[in-house]
């Protein structure tokens, strides 16, 4: 497995976690819980965009592994 595909996998996991966090940030009853989940949501969002930018660099460096 190349670095590129590993990074892709991690991004996919992050998106999965983000979706679940989103569900809980909406359906939780208490204000505090929602606040914590929203905070986690924004941080994961930041990580995802950073990782995607890194993925572009990786694909530029190893174009043979670029997914179609």
């Amino acid at each position: 497995m190349t670095v590129g595909s590993q990074v892709k996998q991690t991004i996919a996991s992050l998106k999965n976690a983000q979706a679940t966090l989103k569900i809980y940030s909406i359906q939780s009853q208490s204000e505090e819980t929602r606040r914590v989940f929203n905070e986690a949501l924004s941080t994961t969002g930041e990580i995802i965009s950073g990782m995607e930018a890194r993925l572009k660099v990786l694909e530029f460096e190893e174009p043979q592994y670029k997914s179609r």
Binding site: S13, A17, Y24, Q27, S30, T33, A40, T43, I47, G50
Partner: protein, 286 residues
Amino acid sequence: MPNSFIILFRSLLMFFITLLLVRLIGKKRSSRLNSFNFITFGVLGILAALISVGLIGNLVLGFIAFMVWGLLPIALDYLGLKSIWIHDLLYGKETILIKQGKIMEDGLNQVRLTGEELLRELRSKNIFNAGEVEFALMETTGEINVLPKADYQPVTPHDCGQKVAPQTDLQTVILDGKSLDENLTTIGLNRGWLNLQLERSEILLSNVFLGQVDSSGDLYLDLYDDTINLPQPKIKELLYANLLKIQADLTAFSLETQPQDAKDMYADYARKLKGILKKTEPFLLR
């Protein structure tokens, strides 16, 4: 009029009057009786019986006695709300039995309690060693309440420095195979949501005996058919595990990557994710 009709009439009358009076006296009194309350209730009961079987021939005279015993305690209750002095006169004061770990013999004598009886009361509170007690007092109702010494008190999350997620009450949304719309709307959900959840676990509404939604919005189901093993929601635990794995991945990337800027970026993300894990742990795992 034959005697039996008179008795019937009196009994019915007293039945409803007593019912009304007891409702008027209220909850506070009937749950914890002190000895005076006990006497008032006793007298009321006996008077009601005597009037209804006609042992007190004159209805009016009977009523006077009945109303005095019924209404005076209520009136005194209201006065007791206004004045501490009257309250103490009515209910007495609680007596301290154990103070700073020492048994107060004067207190025991005052409430005429022997050492053996005190020990029995402590045992009923699951304390077998009197040395474990910091403070104990007898309430005006005769009940003994005990504060154990700090190191014998049950451990709470607060003691461990653990943060726990706030828990609001559970809402029952399904009972006996029927959805309870009122409870659903109080937590901002509707039937559509419920049907979606049931569809996801492939269960018919009519097969569900009990369905409850907890504060984080997860649905717990109990089915009529106990042979079916329903997977209980483990979404939060899975989410936590997922986040842990991502954090480990990021740490590995930061070690494997050559360019310094990318290395720093991964390390920074791993650190941020660790922060999230720490913050969400009470909500996801407990």
